[in-house]
């Protein structure tokens, strides 16, 4: 069994074991954390052994349902590498952050988190479209339970809405998948679900438009792109903190990943038909999401709408369809996972202490919990995209790329950054500074050791990517370059890519010199 299979099935085994294992709830949590840590350490193997630019690696291929051309095919390239690592990393954080927050039915809770991890990793590494679809659907179930059982007051409404939205989109994608499958088989013999074979298909353009639309709907709901975003604030607000971390951190990435891995390269001409629409909707999402944050009085729904805005940036970079923009888009996915994940984590921590997320209930927290405040400020600034933090690198590359192809929309997109500075800093101001208006808040404890252990790694990553992103960019760029050759629409074919790789643009001159030597 290869490392990727281990990463998929280890959490499943662990989760099943947790469900039946006797023992105290506390033991369950520790056990889950240890298991998730093992998973994370195992995934670092991918980081070390990864050879950039050599296509799919760590490949495993076993016949699963040969009579339908379905195989258990997994592998990763630069596009999925970082997303897999992000998943294993955030799962550890999510598990550890739940130790004190979850006091009811712990077995099912931690098992759900682990099943979710397995489903998400499976979807990221699948190179068989059927396998991808299976994981894509499977992960709905644990998320559905996480929101529905351990969520807030309107949890049932939120979870049913989440599942209905996702299913509605993905079932039409299923029809498109089936159609393409029969196309590979020429409508008579056995086709194949092997993604690599699908990349080479020459489907007539007018059909590609429909197939792309079916795929894009499923992914756009997951991203979520405006106007398919309405499930997200509900799901985020009602989900438990760890659920929000996983939802924002990795589940939404499956939508953007789906565009990159499936919808765009399989149906490039379909994408060409829709790319202006995607561009415009992304920019609307950026501005709309940012504006909506300004009227939220719940911190979680504020961050949820900021997600809509950030994911708009990711899609904007993607629709630029040049190396800089796409690289930025991929990096921004990681950044969003870290920054927004950390925001939800911190909000979860303060919610545990005060049982409210209303901004108006707070004020002057800095004086009571300075460490917490500093952590929140760093994370908030990275979410804004302050230079030196990860958010800057991603948004900078995205806007650079977008300017090259569609300057007008890129300029409108920058409004999102300005607004982001506004809503984050305004929230920080109202929650952490000013006089202590509510006496109850004086009893808020600062971060405990365990909580620090979850927050600090995220802060480290924020600065690492912000100051020295080239280890990350180096791993993704070569594959994205190849990807662009496959997927770039013809109208942008003459667009020159920069001579030097992106990370040289970002890095200090010294580092660049080291690379060119």
């Amino acid at each position: 069994m290869g490392i990727l299979s281990f990463l998929i099935f280890w959490p499943v085994v662990l989760g099943l074991f947790l469900l039946v294992r006797p023992g105290s709830p506390r033991g369950v949590a520790t056990f889950a954390a240890l298991g998730a840590a093992v998973e994370f350490i195992a995934s670092l193997w991918l980081w070390n052994g990864f050879a950039p630019g050599t296509g799919f690696q760590f490949v495993e291929s076993v016949d699963w349902i040969p009579s339908l051309g379905i195989g258990y095919r997994v592998g990763i390239d630069g596009i999925s590498l970082l997303l897999v690592l992000l998943t294993t990393f955030l799962t550890v954080i999510a598990v550890v952050s739940s130790f004190s927050a979850i006091t009811d039915r712990q077995r099912g809770y931690y098992a759900s988190l682990l099943f979710l991890e397995a489903g998400v990793i499976g979807a990221f590494v699948a190179t068989d479209v059927f396998l991808f679809y299976v994981f894509w659907e499977v992960m709905l179930i644990p998320m559905y339970f996480l929101i529905g059982i351990w969520g807030g007051k309107r949890r049932i409404y939120a979870t049913v809405k989440f599942v209905l939205y996702t299913m509605a989109g993905s079932l039409l994608m299923l029809v498109a998948i089936l159609w393409t499958y029969h196309y590979t088989g020429g409508y008579s013999g056995t086709g194949t679900f092997n993604l690599l074979d699908w990349y080479g298909l020459k489907i007539p353009a007018h059909i590609q438009v429909w197939l792309f639309a079916a795929f894009a709907l499923a992914f756009a709901i997951k991203v979520p792109m405006f106007p398919f975003h309405t499930w997200l604030p509900d799901a985020h607000v009602e989900a438990p903190a760890a659920g929000s971390i996983m939802l924002a951190g990795v589940l939404l990435k499956l939508g953007t990943y789906g565009f990159i891995r499936f919808a765009i390269p399989i149906f490039p001409e379909g994408f060409e038909f829709f790319d202006t629409a995607i561009l415009v909707l992304s920019v609307i999402g950026i501005v709309y999401g940012a504006k909506m944050t300004l009227i939220q009085d719940d911190m979680k729904s504020l961050v949820a709408y900021s997600s809509v805005s950030h994911l708009g940036f990711v899609m904007l970079g993607l629709s630029a369809m040049n190396l800089i923009g796409v690289t930025g888009s991929l990096l921004q996915q990681i950044n969003h996972g870290i920054s927004t994940g950390a925001l939800f984590l911190l909000i979860g921590i303060i919610y545990e202490r005060r049982h409210t997320r209303m901004i108006a209930d707070y004020g002057g927290v800095f004086a009571i919990a300075p460490v917490f405040t500093i952590a929140f400020l760093i994370v908030g600034l990275s979410s804004i995209g302050l230079p030196g933090t990860n958010g800057f690198v991603g948004e900078f590359l995205i806007l650079l790329g977008a300017f090259a192809t569609s300057p007008f929309w890129a300029i409108i997109g920058t409004v999102g950054i300005v607004l982001a500075a506004g809503y984050i800093l305004w929230m920080v101001m109202r929650v952490f500074f000013g006089p202590i208006t509510n006496a109850v808040n004086e009893s808020i404890r600062d971060l405990t050791g365990r909580e620090l252990a979850t927050v600090v790694p995220m802060v480290i990553l924020i600065f690492w990517i912000g100051i020295y992103p080239s280890p990350f960019l180096k791993r993704v760029e070569p594959d994205l370059k190849k990807w662009l050759e496959q997927a770039r629409p013809s109208r942008l074919i003459d667009m020159p890519d920069p001579e030097r790789p992106c990370y040289v643009l970002i890095d200090a001159p010294g580092a660049a010199g080291e690379e060119t030597r």
């Binding site: 699963w64 349902i65 040969p66 009579s67 339908l68 039915r105 679809y133 299976v134 659907e137 499977v138 709905l140 179930i141 559905y144 339970f145 529905g148 059982i149 949890r155 049932i156 979870t159 049913v160 599942v163 209905l164 299913m167 509605a168 079932l171 039409l172 299923l174 029809v175 089936l178 159609w179 499958y181 029969h182 409508y187």
Partner: protein, 474 residues
């Protein structure tokens, strides 16, 4: 006379007679359910032992080919699960039915067997009657309950009505072709039948007769009332096995006898309507049995999608789906039967928060619900996948899109059951009468869950078997 062709029928009939004697000997006080299950398993074993041997008997009126054998396995599996449910219900002392319940059940299976192995319209009609008559009695099995008797009467009336359609259709087809033999009818039609209108009307009437049986819209109105009124164990039985038999027969009929008769249009319309009506009405149901009744109508719609497509692959896909459907629907009814041991109603409210107190049966019901929705890794997904895939291959894009739209609608009502189990708060105040922990239900729940998950994760051997068994029918 070649008795090998009817070995399972002989075993079942002998078993039924033996059970009747045993019934009298024990004064109807002993639970004969487990023994009935054993007899069914024995019959199933005899089918598997014979698998692949083609046997014909009674002058070609009964044909035990791979097709018949495969469908026998499906309906014996469904019957076995339903019998285990009934045995468990007897054990738990709830839903006590008349003493003749188990022999009746076996006789009904004989009818189903004849239906899928019949190669002659007369045998088919006999099979249908042998199948139906015990079911009427079983629907009215709980004689102390007015609803049960009403259900039996309703089922009987509509059943008789359907038989009338069927008989009239058979007469017309006979008139047009001059033979009862399926093979002969096929040859006559290929050679150019003279009385085309008779033939077409006859074929459509036969089809309608069976659409009544499988509760396809617009011939479905009896199903919800009968499902609600009849004892749950009976419903578990006739939810899956007779459907498998009737659909198996329709496959053989349309592919070997009524070739070139445009029945697709009728099936296509019934598929559209069944998916629409079944799924939309299920949205409003709060009673589990009624909900499952409408869900059954919707699933008949999905199966009709495969029947409409009528290709080599779709025959295998239908067989595979029926096997999976038997496991998930009988499993769901078994849970309902277990819930009934709490002496409460079987509404969504009565299972509120059950996940906390009875995690075992709640987990089982959740698996079946996810399977009925069609979420991987259950057989519900694999089955829908192959079914829709074949329909798309045959060019029915609109029908497939319609089907997935209503699959998405169905998410709501199936998941509401799961919501009630795990997410609704437990009722306060009045101590609810909890169902048993599941005890005697574990054989059926375990087996049904196993099939549901195994066929979903590793469908290849079964798909291959289905394709090989059914392919050469064409």
């Amino acid at each position: 006379m070649n008795l090998a062709a009817i070995t399972p029928e002989i075993i079942l009939t002998a078993g039924a007679l033996f059970l009747m004697v045993a019934e009298v000997a024990t004064k109807g006080k002993r639970n004969l359910g487990w023994m009935t299950a054993l007899i069914i398993a024995l019959a199933g074993w005899s089918v598997i032992a014979q698998f692949g041997h083609i046997e014909a008997a009674f002058g070609g009126m009964i044909l035990s080919d791979r097709f018949a054998q495969f469908f026998r396995i499906i309906l014996l599996t469904g019957s076995l699960l339903a019998t285990l449910t009934a045995a468990a219900a007897w054990q738990g002392g709830k839903g006590i039915f008349g003493a003749a319940y188990f022999p009746l059940l076996l006789i009904s299976i004989v009818g189903m067997d004849l239906l899928v192995s019949g190669a002659n319209l007369i045998v088919i009609f006999l099979g249908l009657e042998i199948l139906s008559l015990p079911l009427y009695a079983m629907a009215a099995g709980r004689t102390s309950s007015d609803e049960s008797v009403e259900a039996g009467a309703k089922y009987f009336l509509t059943g008789a009505f359907a038989s009338g359609f069927l008989l009239f259709g058979i007469a017309l087809v006979y008139g047009a072709t001059g033979t009862f033999s399926l093979e002969g009818i096929g040859q006559e039609i290929s050679a150019g039948a003279r009385f085309l209108p008779f033939l077409w009307v006859g074929a459509i009437l036969i089809l309608i007769g069976f659409l009544f049986k499988i509760a396809a819209v617009p011939f479905h109105a009896w199903a919800p009332d009968v499902y609600t009124g009849a004892p749950t164990t009976t419903v578990a039985f006739f939810a899956a096995a007779p459907k498998a038999a009737a659909i198996g027969l329709l496959l053989r009929l349309t592919l070997t006898a009524l070739v070139d008769v445009p029945l697709e249009t009728v099936m296509w319309a019934a598929a559209w309507l069944s998916m629409l009506v079944g799924n939309i009405w299920a949205l409003r149901q709060r009673d589990l049995k009624r909900l499952l009744a409408y869900s059954g109508i919707a699933h008949v719609g999905y199966l009709l999608v495969g029947l409409t497509a009528k290709g080599a692959g779709s025959v295998g896909a239908i067989g595979f789906y029926l096997l999976g459907y038997a496991a998930m629907s009988v499993g769901a009814f078994a849970v309902v039967a277990a819930v009934e041991t709490g002496k409460g109603p079987t509404t969504l409210e009565s299972i509120a928060g059950l996940g906390r107190r009875r995690p075992g049966i709640s987990a089982a019901l959740s698996i079946f619900m996810f399977a009925l929705v069609g979420i991987p890794p259950t057989v519900g997904f694999a089955g829908k996948f192959v079914l829709f895939s074949e329909a798309l291959k045959a060019g029915y894009l609109g029908l497939v899109i319609w089907a997935v739209i209503f699959s998405a609608v169905s998410v709501y009502y199936y998941l509401r059951v799961v919501v009630a189990l795990w997410m609704w708060p437990e009722p306060e105040g009045v101590p609810t009468s909890d169902p048993d922990r599941g005890g005697p239900y574990w054989p059926v729940l375990g087996l049904a869950s196993l099939i549901t998950l195994l066929l979903g994760i590793l469908p290849q051997p079964f798909l291959k078997l289905a394709a090989e068994s059914l392919f050469w029918l064409l």
